[in-house]
């Protein structure tokens, strides 16, 4: 369309009107500044292919101090949020199993046992019994340690003798045994298992708490 416009027509049009009409047609305007020799006076105006976009806005220069201040504010906000979250994770959460149930806590006064004061003899007896117990447990521990040390020495001796006898066998003996770890054993019970016992089926009520 614009090729038909003469230079005088372009001069007469106001800038914003020109802009609007060009953007409606999604085209950009170029004015050539190269030297052209011609008999008539061409306007040297060309119109591009449709661009389907607005030309980008001009970037304003921001003061670096303002930029730094903005960064600082953003960082302080994030740190504050982190501190708030960490404070929450440092607080110990209540364990439902360790707390008294609501019903029990309501009737606490009725549930307390009458405090029966101890006589001096009873208190002394308890104290003596606890002391005896600590002595007994210490003796047990010392005996256990002695047994373990004896067994360890027996094994060390066996390994020494094996090494003196045959180095290859010794190397085979000190290899790790992958079947040994993990070691599992269900320990002794109060009564032995009953042969051929048929456990009766029972009901159970699932009281697992769910949070959804």
């Amino acid at each position: 369309m614009a090729l038909s416009l003469g230079l005088s027509t372009v001069q007469r049009l106001a800038a914003n009107v020109l802009d609007m009409s060009l953007s409606r047609s999604l085209c950009a305007l170029t004015i050539s500044t190269r030297r052209v020799i011609s008999t008539s006076s061409p306007a040297a105006i060309a119109v591009s292919h449709p661009l389907c976009a607005e030309p980008l806005k001009k970037k304003k220069r921001i003061d670096p101090a303002v930029v730094r201040a903005r960064e600082e504010r953003r960082r302080r906000k994030l740190e504050k949020a982190i501190r708030r979250l960490e404070k929450s994770s440092r607080q110990l959460k209540p364990l439902a199993e360790m707390e008294l149930p609501r019903e029990v806590r309501a009737e606490l006064s009725e549930r307390r046992r009458p405090a029966r004061p101890l006589t001096t003899e009873e208190a002394n007896e308890r104290f003596d019994l606890m002391k005896e117990w600590t002595r007994h447990r210490r003796e047990q521990h010392v005996a256990d340690v002695a047994v373990l040390r004896r067994i360890q020495e027996s094994r060390a001796k066996a390994l020494r003798e094996l090494r003196a006898e045959s180095f290859q066998l010794y190397c085979a003996a000190i290899e790790e045994d992958p079947d040994l770890v993990p070691w599992a054993h269900s320990g002794p019970t109060l009564t032995p298992p009953i042969d051929g016992y048929d456990a009766p089926d029972g009901d159970y009520v699932d009281t697992t708490r769910r949070w959804e």
Binding site: R113, E175, D195
Partner: protein, 292 residues
């Protein structure tokens, strides 16, 4: 044996080294020991144990202290719902008696199952269950061949093994064939480790269906004995060196093989003295836990 550069720096028969890690020194070959009169035969023996099935009864000290702990826990506790219910039942019964049966609500409340009734019903149900006894028939009979004896102790398998013409009470023992010197096909083939020999020995003595878990590749005990003179000349060895391996019986039938084993017993550590020779017993005892 090849002499490597590091073995020359080791003192004969000692573990004295300055800046070497234990594993490095262990893997270094030792210098050849001097003055060995002749070879020793190597044997592996298996200490097969049945672990305790029940916990031992409480000792006097333990009983007294348990009672004290129970008392303390009771004193420091709150009343349970069952106890509250019991107290309320008593109060209801009292109120009913005081009002002489006039109040119908009280009468109804008193006719429901009381806490005491509930306790009695529970006790009855428990009495209906008969647990297995901890002191078994085998204990009373003193049957040392049974695995059901002394359920709160560890039992060790001791066999009357056939050796040449005679027999001897010992832990199941088998000869270890050194693969490097003997090229043989079949049982005890070349390259067996002592632990493998121990496993084969156990299966040869008590049947292949036994389920025993061996505790590691290393031997737990050592015993050395000299052959009598005629046997020394015949076999060309001074005697035997026995390396004990420990195993835990996990299940499976223990069926002693008749042509290797004449008899077998399951004994506690304290009872071993009655069956084994003193030097051998001492070596075995050193590797056992004996306080039960």
């Amino acid at each position: 044996m090849r002499l490597t550069w590091c073995s020359r720096r080791l003192l004969l028969g000692g573990f004295q080294f300055s800046c070497r890690t234990l594993s490095q020194a262990a893997r270094a070959e030792p210098a050849p020991s001097a003055g060995q009169a002749g070879p020793w035969h190597l044997y592996t023996a298996v200490c097969l144990q049945r672990l305790p099935v029940v916990a031992p009864p409480l000792s006097e000290m333990e009983r007294r202290f348990t009672a004290l702990l129970r008392q303390l826990e009771f004193e420091r506790s709150l009343k349970s719902s069952h106890e509250i219910r019991h107290e309320m039942d008593i109060a209801t019964a009292e109120a009913l008696r005081a009002s002489e049966g006039d109040d119908p609500d009280l009468a109804e409340a008193a006719s429901l199952q009381t806490a005491a009734d509930f306790e009695d019903a529970c006790a009855e149900e428990l009495a209906g269950f008969e647990p297995a006894p901890t002191v078994t028939e085998a204990d009373r009979a003193g049957d040392q061949r049974s695995l059901q004896r002394r359920l709160s102790s560890r039992l060790v398998l001791v066999v009357q093994q056939r050796l040449g013409a005679g027999t001897s009470w010992m832990l199941p023992q088998g000869r270890h064939q050194d693969g490097a010197t003997l090229r043989q096909v079949g049982r005890g083939a070349a390259g067996d480790t002592p632990r493998q020999t121990a496993e084969q020995t156990l299966q040869a003595m008590v049947g292949p269906n036994v389920n025993a878990q061996f505790l590691g590749n290393a031997p737990w005990g050592f015993y050395k004995y000299k052959y009598p003179k005629p046997l020394q000349q015949e076999s060309g060895a001074i005697g035997g060196k026995v390396f004990f391996y420990k195993a835990v019986l996990r299940g499976g039938p223990v069926e002693p093989v008749a042509d290797r084993v004449a008899d077998h017993r399951w004994l506690t550590a304290a009872e071993l003295g009655g069956q084994l020779r003193s030097g051998y017993r001492r070596a075995v005892h050193r590797l056992l836990i004996d306080h039960d």
